[in-house]
Structure formats: C-alpha cells, structure tokens
C-alpha cells in the first residue's frame, strides 16, 4: 500500500487580511503539490487570523463564496483542510474547517467547543457547531476533522473514532503560555497538547494530525509544534516550536488495521452503554430526575 504523504502548513496568517492569507494558501497548496503531498493541513483560522474580535464579520465567507471555490479548484488530485470564518445563511458566524478535495468543498466542521475562559473569548464572537462527524475522503481513509478546543473534550476523539475516523485531524491556533523551566520543551501548552495527541491516538487507535499556527497577535505567541502520531501512540513527526514551515510526513495507512487488530479497543467500545448513561446524566444534571431515584439506567 502506498504511503500517505501529508503536508503540515505551520504558517502565520495575517490578522484580518483575508486576501493576503488566501494568496498564501494558494502558494502553499502549490508547494505541497510539488512536494508530492496527498493531504495538506492548514491551521485554525489560517485564512483570517485568530484574535478577530469585531473583524469576525468582515472576514466571514459563505460556503458558496467564490474565493473558497477558487481555493478548492487548486485541489484537483489533492485533499486540503483549511480554517476560516463561516457565515451561515441566517448570518451566524462559526469558526470552521473545510475539507477541499478534487476541486470541491466536501465537508465542513464547525467548532463545537468554543474556548471561553482565561485569555479566550470565542463565544462572544462566534456561534458553536453541534455536529461531530467523520467524513470519507478521496484518500481512502475516513477523516475526523476538529478544531483546537474540540480536542479538550473527550467526546470529540471518542465520537469521531466511533463514527469511523481513522485519522483525527485537529487544526489549532493555540497560544503558548507558561515558560516555567520545569515544563517539557519549556512551554506548558506544548506539554499539555503532546499528552492529548498521544493519548487520543492510542485510545482511538487512529492517526492524529495536529497542525498549530505560529506568529504573534497582540500579546500572544502561537507556538507551532505541529505533529503526527501513529495509532500506537508513537511520534512520527514533530515540527519545531515557533518556526514557520511546510513539513512533509509519510504515514503507513496499514498501521490503522494492524493496531486495531492488535488492540481492539474500538471493537470493545460500548456506545449503547455510554448513550444510556449519558441520557440519565443529562436528565439528572438538568434537575429533571432525582438522582437518588434514577436507578442504574443501564
């Protein structure tokens, strides 16, 4: 089986400069194609920059936006994941990721879990998506596309893998913080994300592709450190912290099957148990049922 060649576009978008960023995406797509990439992954809000505040509506694109179509037209014989602000027909704004393939827009994921604490203020400016679904791709693998904070909630990798994803793709604009000397690689954020990526790869027996942006907006510095993890949890590639670059990684598609035969964790998942328990917990948390009377529910 031919290996799958992935290009990680660890780039620094210009804040609010949609046209400049589009141009940069076109150029990187061309460079990735030249480098033999099958799949090119760009960071969260790579087309717009992150700290948009009231610029959110100014850079938003509808799914039928000709600029998105032009980007898609660069993907003949190629798959690409791009991050942008989506405006729905009823004018809600979402942080979104689109899968572009063979000239078409094939799938859109709207960020489900918006970060709204500490230095984050996403819910003020964006609506949240409500679908976590895997999507088939021309690559012969099913993709589980999600965005940054989505990965800080266990349901995301779990649902995407149960839905058939073999490659979990997380695109991020993660601001680096905590330079305490005790942190691995000197950055607390990097330590946390590396733990998540390995854990999810192992628990879902899937590849994890993490693409994080670099660059500076206002006070915050995005730390890069994009990586690819195999279904065994082994690190296949790690991009440098803070440096911009287009990095190529090859993965062995057969690795998913091998690992899932050896470690049939997904086979042994009990989604019906999870669902029944969740139904009970949701009712209880809403105050609809007295937890003491609820029984096991299983």
């Amino acid at each position: 089986m031919e290996p799958l060649r992935i290009a990680l576009a660890q780039m620094a978008p210009r804040l609010g400069a949609l046209e400049d960023n589009l141009e940069r995406h076109h150029a990187l797509l061309a460079e990735a194609r030249q480098g033999g990439a099958d799949l090119v992954v760009f960071p969260e809000l790579g087309l717009t920059g992150y700290l948009l505040q009231d610029l959110n509506a100014e850079v938003a694109m509808r799914l039928d936006d000709p600029r998105l179509a032009a980007l898609a037209s660069d993907t003949k014989g190629l798959s690409a994941v791009v991050g942008f602000v989506e405006e729905s027909d009823d004018h809600r704004l979402f942080i979104a990721a689109a899968l572009l393939e063979d000239g078409e827009l094939r799938h859109v994921h709207r960020k489900v879990f918006l970060a709204n604490y500490g230095l984050f203020d996403e819910r003020r400016f964006f609506g949240s998506g409500s679908i976590l679904a895997a999507t088939p791709s021309r690559l012969g693998l099913s993709l589980g596309i999600c965005i940054c904070e989505d990965f800080w909630h266990l349901a995301t990798p779990n649902l995407l893998a149960l839905d058939g994803a073999q490659v979990l793709i997380n695109i991020s604009s993660s601001p680096g913080r905590d330079v305490a000397a005790v942190n691995e690689v000197g950055l607390g954020t990097a330590t946390s994300w590396r733990t998540l990526a390995r854990t999810y790869a192992q628990l879902t027996t899937s590849f994890v592709v993490f693409v994080n942006r670099v660059g500076v907006e206002e006070s915050i510095t995005f730390w890069g450190g994009s990586e690819v993890i195999s279904p065994t949890g082994a690190t296949l590639f790690q991009a440098p912290l803070h440096d911009e670059g287009l990095f190529f990684v090859e993965i062995d598609r057969a690795e998913v099957r091998r690992e899932r035969i050896a470690m049939p964790l997904l086979r042994d998942e009990r989604p019906e148990v999870v669902m029944r328990q969740l139904e009970r917990i949701v009712r209880e948390r809403a105050g609809e049922v007295d937890p003491n009377d609820a029984g096991s529910g299983a």
Partner: protein
C-alpha cells in the same frame, strides 16, 4: 522556602536569589520575546525602537532583547538622568550602550523638573519626593516619545510584572510604552534572563532602585525582598491562592494582607480609563478591534 542561587558565568557567588518555582526556560522566553518585539514593530509599520535606559536591570534587559530581535543598529537608547541621580546609574547605562554598540543620546531632565518645582508647582520646592519622582518619570516619558518621532522608532516599555502588579509605577510615566516585552516576567525572572543574556554583572548584582533619592532601594522602600515578593505574587496571582491558603503555604499574614491591598489599589494603573457609556457603540466596550489590523500600520 525552596530556592536556588543563580550565578552569572563570571560568578563570584550568587548574584541574586531565584525562587525555584519562578525559574523559567530562558531559551523559550527569549524566543517568544524576540518574535513579539519583531511582530509589534512590523505590524505597526516600524523597524526601529527607542528604550529609556536608566542603568537598572529592567531597561538593560529590554535594550538587550530589542538589539537581539532587530539589531543594535535599529535601537536608540535614551539616557535621561536628573541631577540627583546616582553616578553609578549613568556609568551602568553607558556600559550597556558600549556593550550593544547601539545609538544613544543623553537628555538631562534637571532643567525641566527644577523649573517646574521652582516656579509653577503647588508647594514648589517643598514638593514631596514621591511627587518629584512621578514628575521626573513623566518628563522622561515626554522626552522618550519625542525621540520616538525623530528616530522613527516605537517606545519599548521596561516595566516588569512585579512592579505592574503592586503598582510601583508612575501612571503615564514609566508605564507608558508601545509594547511591553518583559511585562509578564517577575523581577527575579528578569534577573535570570538578564544574567543569561550577558547584561553586565554590576547591573545584575546591584540592588534595584527607582533612583529618586540617594540610597533609595526598591526592597528598602517596599520592606520585602524581591525573592519573597515575587514568590508571594506568583502564588497569589498565577496560582490563584486565597489569602488563607497563602498563609498556610508559609507566607507572613501581614505581608499577604499588605501585598493584596497594593495589588487591589493599583488596579486602575493597569487599565484604560472608563468611558461614560452613552451611544450605541462605545470604544473599548462594544467596539472591539485588535490594535493591529489591515490599514492600521503606519505604512
């Protein structure tokens, strides 16, 4: 209290006390600050910076960081002594300029300050040292911002996290800047980074001072060492510990109370002035744009 002593490469004994939990990865911090300085300038349409150099460790470190980020050729250090400033401050500032090979200029602020207090100021010559100190800090700000125009560079701030949190700054004086490269580093961390970057040993070792009157030191005036103050602020602010938890950690209850009050009382210095909300869309309240966006750069 766990702490380690840090020595500069030339070290003849510890240059300062670095509490263990405050130790930073200086390579990563340096990389982030370098990128921050470069980006702030580029996004504003500038390629040069201006630093007010006092002879103390904060401004020496900022000058080093700016020189590393954009090159010493693009840095102007402005020395602004007052007649009462210590001679050592002047010598130490000159040593940093020599070391970096950057442009520098000296503006004696004594005539401006003395003219005001000799003539127009209420209370005149009897003005308190604090009033005089604040006025000096604001004169230096005015001089620095004028040089920002003539040199074509943004003013890099030299404030650190410790002084910002306790309000040991002059509003619209030393706190005025275009961007603050070391504003998230406690004084102990400033010392750690300064030692690594090769700021002259004499500057790293000397007692920090606002240099407003002879013999003044920050630690003497605040009544606490920076190592203790930084540790307390770290647990209070970064680690979100409540006063009773801080006392349980071994901090003196009087100090916890006093520092807590200093932080609360200086909240106004860290925020822009509130605007009376009248219209449908008000600056800073429901008109929210990033400082740097398409069209905001000078060119």
């Amino acid at each position: 209290m766990t702490s380690v002593s840090a020595s500069p490469p030339s070290g003849s004994g510890p240059a300062f006390e670095l509490p263990a939990e405050l130790g930073i990865d200086t390579d990563v911090a340096r990389r982030i600050i370098d990128g921050f300085i470069t980006s702030q300038l580029r996004q504003a349409g500038f390629s040069r910076a201006v630093v007010g150099l006092s002879g103390g460790i904060d401004s020496a470190l900022v000058a080093h960081l700016v020189a590393e980020a954009i090159g010493a050729d693009s840095l102007l250090c402005v020395l602004m002594p007052y007649s009462g400033s210590s001679a050592d401050s002047r010598t130490d500032a000159a040593a940093v300029v020599d070391q970096l090979g950057c442009a520098s200029t000296l503006v004696d602020i004594s005539p401006m300050v003395d003219a005001y207090f000799a003539d127009g100021a209420p209370g005149g010559r009897e003005a308190s040292p604090v009033r005089r100190g604040n006025f000096m800090a604001r004169m230096r700000m005015a001089v620095l911002y004028d040089h920002s125009v003539t040199f074509g560079g943004l003013v890099a701030g030299t404030g650190n996290k410790t002084e910002m949190l306790i309000g040991y700054t002059t509003l619209f004086g030393d706190s005025a800047c275009a961007f603050a490269p070391i504003g998230d580093l406690y004084k102990s961390q400033v010392r750690q980074l300064a030692a690594v970057m090769g700021v002259p040993d004499a500057i790293v070792r000397k007692s920090p001072s606002a240099d407003l009157w002879p013999g003044q030191t920050d630690e003497g005036e605040l009544g606490v060492s920076y190592a203790d103050l930084d540790r307390l602020l770290f647990w209070m602010i970064d680690k979100r510990r409540a006063p009773d938890e801080l006392i349980e950690l071994g901090f003196d209850d009087g100090l916890v109370e006093r520092v807590g009050r200093m932080v609360a009382r200086s909240e106004f210095k860290r925020q822009v002035a509130p605007i009376a909300k009248l219209g449908p869309r008000t600056v800073g309240i429901d008109y929210l744009y990033p400082r740097r966006r398409p069209g905001s750069a000078r060119r």
